[in-house]
Symmetry: C2
Subunit: 336 residues, 2 copies
Amino acid sequence: MRVNLKYIAEKANLSPTTVSLILNGKNVRVSQEKRELVLKIAEKYNYKPSSLARALATKKTNIIGLVIPDITNYFFAETALIIETTLRKYGYSLILCNTADQGNDEHKYIDLLLSYGVDGLIICISHDSLFNNDLLHKLNQLEIACVAFDRFIPDLPFPYVSIDNEYGARIATDYLISNGHRKIGFIGGATNVLSARQRFDGYKKSLEKAGITFNQSYVKHGNYQFESGYVAGKELLETNDVSAVFVANDMMAYGFYKAARELGKKIPDDISVVGFDDLLFSEALDVPLTTIKQSTKELAKYVCDILLKEIKGEKVPRNILLNPTLTVRSSVKRLK
Amino acid sequence: MRVNLKYIAEKANLSPTTVSLILNGKNVRVSQEKRELVLKIAEKYNYKPSSLARALATKKTNIIGLVIPDITNYFFAETALIIETTLRKYGYSLILCNTADQGNDEHKYIDLLLSYGVDGLIICISHDSLFNNDLLHKLNQLEIACVAFDRFIPDLPFPYVSIDNEYGARIATDYLISNGHRKIGFIGGATNVLSARQRFDGYKKSLEKAGITFNQSYVKHGNYQFESGYVAGKELLETNDVSAVFVANDMMAYGFYKAARELGKKIPDDISVVGFDDLLFSEALDVPLTTIKQSTKELAKYVCDILLKEIKGEKVPRNILLNPTLTVRSSVKRLK
DNA sequence: TTGAAAGCGCTAACAT
DNA sequence: ATGTTAGCGCTTTCAA
């Protein structure tokens, strides 16, 4: 049976206040004798305070809401894990919400989290929502600590942490070009996702700088998921003569590998590939994937730092853009 | 500014009771006129009830606690996603706890979840905990709906859903044997994880049935993670002449692929591999992995079904063992 | 058809 | 050094 403060107080012949003080380790008043007594009784009855009641009284839940598009995406899973581990050190728990990139669900999730009185919000907003004024309005009204990450939303009243997508795409494409490739395909994410557009921009800018004419038929768009990389890969390889492809995330790159395999094209001999994310599996592939590395560790670190500062009411930076790096493996062939 | 019931009640010139009734859609008393008025005012002030206060009053939080070892493991991520999606349909949210297979953390997490008054608990207990009597005792005392999954814990007072690990390991090994292999290595999980032991047992039984002598030096143990499969793979391949390996989960199988590649061994020509889990990536590998498929969908479905039934106070089955199946791809060579 | 009052389990301001 | 009281925002019983 779960006992409460009052019960312990009665057993100890003290007031709930005193017991509360003791159990919360407040080093005020209270004789050593009583303190020990209460501790012993609480132990004996296995007393555990109700976080609910405490939260209601203190207006602090020690819960942070995390809203992400897809927990089965390794990038998000890893980020979520690091965020969770970090925040837990500071006494916070996480309520996780998968939006599955459903704009209207996001709305509900955020309301839900707010109704639980979360102390802070970490969100990665799905593309759809960028066009959802209600949501933006709601985010603007937010009265609690909040950090956005990975996907940028313009004009938000709270900080944003991400990597520089355009820069990453540029160095990926630059690398292909520097290896002698000229016919370079692009498989991107959904065009309404900002990060996807930025990567597309980076790709185009790199081509432009090298004086390579942009070819629209070399461009396919997926949705950052495995299957879509496979489908886009098939389309691209069946109808074009590209010698290399920049695939805008690793999940799709894995799908692309499958497409290439099914079409009998060898990587990197027949087709070179550069990905984006550097997920764990990129190293495990038979032809390890050359890719752009986003450091989830660094990302998560900044996100937590900022959130904790916001909660404490400290000053926080406006936006943070992290520079990704190129991880060279074996999926790109040098053309002479 | 967040408004509360009382505020709405004042604006409507009604009592909090009436407003509460209306806003909760209780179809009792209350004139149509007042109802509409209250609804309009609530809308106007964007009233959102405090789940905290409601939970405190009703003793129902609509939160389910999910305790898993590792969210970056695709198997758990996928299961978590399906569970979350399913439960949300029924009005529940999830608090996620990653134990990172730390036995003592599990303890804390469960206490934490209980202190938030979760309505139910879904747990996948880490190995360490099997020897933690405190935890087992705590689980035995649990007064809320609970379901364990994936990893079995004997003598628990609530249902358990898993796949039949021994059976899966048996058909995996059988398959290698039926392809002419006799020197079959085994890379397993930590020996204190029951599922790992069961898979090991299945492997041994399959060998025995085929009249193949068990060879201890063909056996290595990892921890179900990528890196450990790589390390175990190196050890195994450097010191033994196995023609095939059964790797007890796909993550480690990916690590094994890397080891084989580094040692210049081709899969399946030089070494055949069967995995366990059938993660998404198994299909994406350059040599698609033949593996044992656990249906996360089915698993999650049973877990949710049972939990919801428990919450409603309905009768639930004791234990459920799901039969995995073999997914044949290209990582096994037929020896003549 | 509606409201008053109590209470969920805790904390915090204010007394003593 | 300790206790009283009020209150967090809701639901629910009971009364009107």
